[in-house]
C-alpha cells in the first residue's frame, strides 16, 4: 500500500513513556476502567507513565466521597491505589474541578467552602501540566466517554 504523503516516513522507536488523559467520568462512562486496565498493561510491558491528567468530566474520578455498592469496583479507590503504588502523579485540571465541585484543602479555604473532597494522591493543577506532557516526547493517550 503506497501513500502520496511525503512527510513522516521515518519509523521512530516505540514510545516508552505515556501520559494518560481521562475525560470520561466513572459511573457515567467506561473511560476510567479502560484507562486503568491500559495503565496496568503499560507498566507490565516495562514502559513508564509520567502523569495521569483528569480533564472535563474526568475530574470526578478524583472524588474521595464516591461510594458505589459493595459489589461494584470503586474506581476512584482503585485508581488512587494504582497511582500511589507506582508513584505516578495524578492531576485534576483546576478549572474543570472547581466547576464540578472537586476541591482540595487549599481551594476550600480560598473559596470559603464547607468541605474538601479530593482523594489523595490526586492533586489539582492547571492545564500547563498537560501542555508539559504534550510538548514532551511522551505519548499522550486520551480516554473519552464512549456512548
Amino acid at each position: 500500500m503506497s501513500s502520496s504523503l511525503p512527510e513522516q516516513t521515518k519509523t521512530p522507536a516505540p514510545a516508552g513513556v505515556f501520559t494518560l488523559v481521562i475525560t470520561g467520568a466513572p459511573y457515567s462512562s467506561q473511560a476510567p476502567q479502560t484507562a486503568l486496565q491500559f495503565a496496568q498493561a503499560v507498566l507490565a510491558a516495562g514502559k513508564r507513565i509520567d502523569r495521569v491528567f483528569l480533564y472535563g468530566d474526568g475530574v470526578h474520578l478524583s472524588s474521595s466521597l464516591s461510594t458505589p455498592p459493595s459489589d461494584e469496583l470503586n474506581l476512584s479507590e482503585a485508581w488512587a491505589s494504582f497511582l500511589t503504588e507506582n508513584n505516578i502523579p495524578g492531576v485534576a485540571c483546576i478549572a474543570s474541578a472547581l466547576r464540578r465541585g472537586l476541591v482540595n484543602e487549599a481551594e476550600m479555604q480560598r473559596y470559603e467552602l464547607t468541605a474538601s473532597n479530593l482523594r489523595p494522591p490526586f492533586e489539582i493543577a492547571g492545564l500547563g501540566e498537560w501542555v508539559d506532557s504534550a510538548a514532551s516526547d511522551s505519548r499522550v493517550l486520551y480516554f473519552h466517554k464512549g456512548g
Binding site: 457515567s28 462512562s29 467506561q30 476502567q33 461494584e72 469496583l73 466517554k145 464512549g146 456512548g147
Partner: protein, 116 residues
C-alpha cells in the same frame, strides 16, 4: 398509569442502561405497570453470552432474566435495531420479544421515559 422505559445506549459504555433498569424495577416494586424497550444500540444489552467481568462490571443478565418475576411486564426489542445489530430472536436473552418501534407502541403507555 403504565410506563415504558426506553434503553437506547449500548451496554457497559455508559450507566444509562443500568439506571434505566433501576427505574423499571422500582416501578414494579411499587406495583406500577412497567415495560422495558431496547432500541438503537441498546438492543445489545439483550445479546446472549455476555461476560461483563471482562470489563470489571456486574452482569445484568440475571436481572433481566428475573425481570418478569419482579413484575416488569415485557422486555421489548425494536426489530429494526435487532436487524442492524444481527440479532435474531434466538440470539436474545429469555423473555425478550421483538416488536416494531413507533407511535403505535409508545401510545400504549401513559409515561415514556429514558434514564438519561
Amino acid at each position: 398509569m403504565s410506563t415504558l422505559i426506553i434503553i437506547d445506549q449500548p451496554p457497559y459504555g455508559s450507566w444509562d442502561g443500568r439506571e434505566a433498569l433501576d427505574m423499571a424495577f422500582s416501578l414494579a416494586a411499587f406495583d406500577q405497570p412497567v415495560s422495558l424497550l431496547f432500541c438503537g444500540a441498546g438492543v445489545n444489552w439483550l445479546r446472549k453470552g455476555q461476560d461483563a467481568a471482562k470489563v470489571q462490571q456486574k452482569s445484568i443478565e440475571r436481572n433481566l432474566s428475573a425481570a418478569p418475576i419482579f413484575g416488569v411486564e415485557a422486555l421489548l426489542a425494536d426489530s429494526d435495531a435487532c436487524g442492524r445489530y444481527g440479532l435474531a430472536e434466538s440470539d436474545l436473552l429469555e423473555h425478550a420479544i421483538i416488536t416494531d418501534f413507533g407511535p403505535e407502541l409508545t401510545n400504549r403507555f401513559d409515561h415514556v421515559a429514558f434514564a438519561g
